[in-house]
């Protein structure tokens, strides 16, 4: 934020950076071979729906496109709203590339319609350890971070930091730990 924005209280929402989403598909090889983590075949994208009619009609088009893409990939799509007022689009597909590509389509379509700033995060699940391991992509930052919930709204910070150090070369990892958003009730 520049000085002018501070002086006049002009906080703006930043536009999403979606291009680094694909880095997860590249890192998946290392995740599998070196860390023993396999994609669980599910990913989701969360965004904050606006109450305006304009948003609703724009979103209907995006929604139809997501269905079309899902049909092409042969993946299943679900929709959910959570108690915090965020909407989720959940995609199930055994191929991680398809999941990432679906998420990217949704993000770039929403951005093209001018609602990109409403995107919160994309989350992808991996299995192989005692707890599921999630990789979360923050659209505002264009960076990834690991999220390992250890039951009862606790997270396994040790494991997360370990993953960070192991993946730093493969994935653009968020360096500011205060921005490692948790998504405990993510429907994936």
């Amino acid at each position: 934020m520049g000085l002018r924005d501070v002086l006049f209280g002009k906080k703006k929402l930043s536009e999403p950076k979606s291009d680094r989403l694909f880095a997860l598909a590249t890192a998946a090889v290392t995740l599998d071979t070196e860390l023993g983590l396999k994609p669980a075949g599910v990913g989701a994208i969360a965004f904050k729906p606006q109450s305006s009619g304009e948003f609703r009609s724009a979103f209907d088009e995006v929604d139809q496109l997501v269905d079309a893409v899902a049909q092409q990939f042969g993946s299943k799509v679900e929709r959910k709203s959570d108690e915090y007022g965020y909407d989720w689009i959940i995609v199930r597909d055994p191929e991680l590339e398809d999941l990432v590509a679906s998420a990217h389509t949704l993000a770039s379509e929403l951005t093209a319609k001018g609602f990109g700033s409403l995107l919160l995060a994309a989350i992808f699940r991996f299995d192989g350890y005692e707890h599921p391991v999630y990789f979360i992509y923050g659209f505002k930052r264009g960076a990834w971070w690991p999220f390992v919930p250890a039951g009862d709204s606790k997270r396994d910070n040790a494991k997360e930091l370990e993953l960070k150090s192991q993946l730093e070369r493969e994935l653009p990892i968020e360096q500011d730990l205060t921005r490692w958003l948790a998504l405990f009730d993510a429907p994936v």
């Binding site: 002086l7 929402l13 915090y84 007022g85 606790k154 958003l181 948790a182």
Partner: protein, 305 residues
Amino acid sequence: MKRRAYGRDAGLTLRMLLTTGLLGLLYVIFAVVLFQVLNVGLVPMLLIVVGLAFFQYYTSDKLALAAAGAKVVSREEAPALHDMVERLCAMADLPKPKVAIMDTPMPNAFATGRSPKHAAVCVTTGLWDRLEPKEVEGVLAHELSHVANRDVLVMTLASFFATLAALLTRFGIYGGIFSGGGNNRDNNNGPPVWLIVLVVSILVYFLSYILIRTISRYREYAADRGSALITGTPEYLMSALQKISSQMTLIPNRDLREVEGLSAFFIVSPRVKSALGELFMDHPPIEKRLAALAQIAREMGRPVA
């Protein structure tokens, strides 16, 4: 397609600029008068005020939390509140602030901290219990907008010379009473120096008080707009404001006085309405805030190529 930043109120920007300019002008005049009339003792006085301002600025998060009797809570103690704050921060691209709870039935919330990295948001138990989650979210987004807009920094800077003037007024009174004021070289004709300083200081203090409160009101509008931007649903902040302000009057005064000094930080001022009206309030009247939010709600989602 780029979307216009909705709620971009050109009038508000102009009024902010005007008030800030007036305040700056007032301070310059004050400084000139001080240097002209009182060329001794100004340096130590400035040092004291600069020191105070720095202290206030650097400890603002802890100071305000301690003064309000708020307790910083961990994720385990308040998971839902932490979840909400984290998501809003991700939306607003802010680092996560400290999360605190204040144990009082009065529904309110405030944010403090000199920069987004050293910020804290606090909600009262009354707010958490009486409002719907989406309304709490609107309130939290308003507080996070204060953090993003660096309102603590702006207000500390704005009140810097007001503090100096207040100090000088006191010094002036004591100086006048105890020494008779006769310690300056050109004291033979014209009024005594301490009297000039006293009068100027009182004037500066009075005017800056009004200007600072005006800026504070503008920052509230700006934070309301920020909340609408972050949550995308201004209607929940509107209903939250209505609930908070209607419940505020139902709750006994004891709570109000305890937090009096922090008034400017809260989402709705805990002060009882002043007879002198808006000029002296640090928050705009609820009706005006609701009208501004309704305007933003109308503008939202309207694309501009």
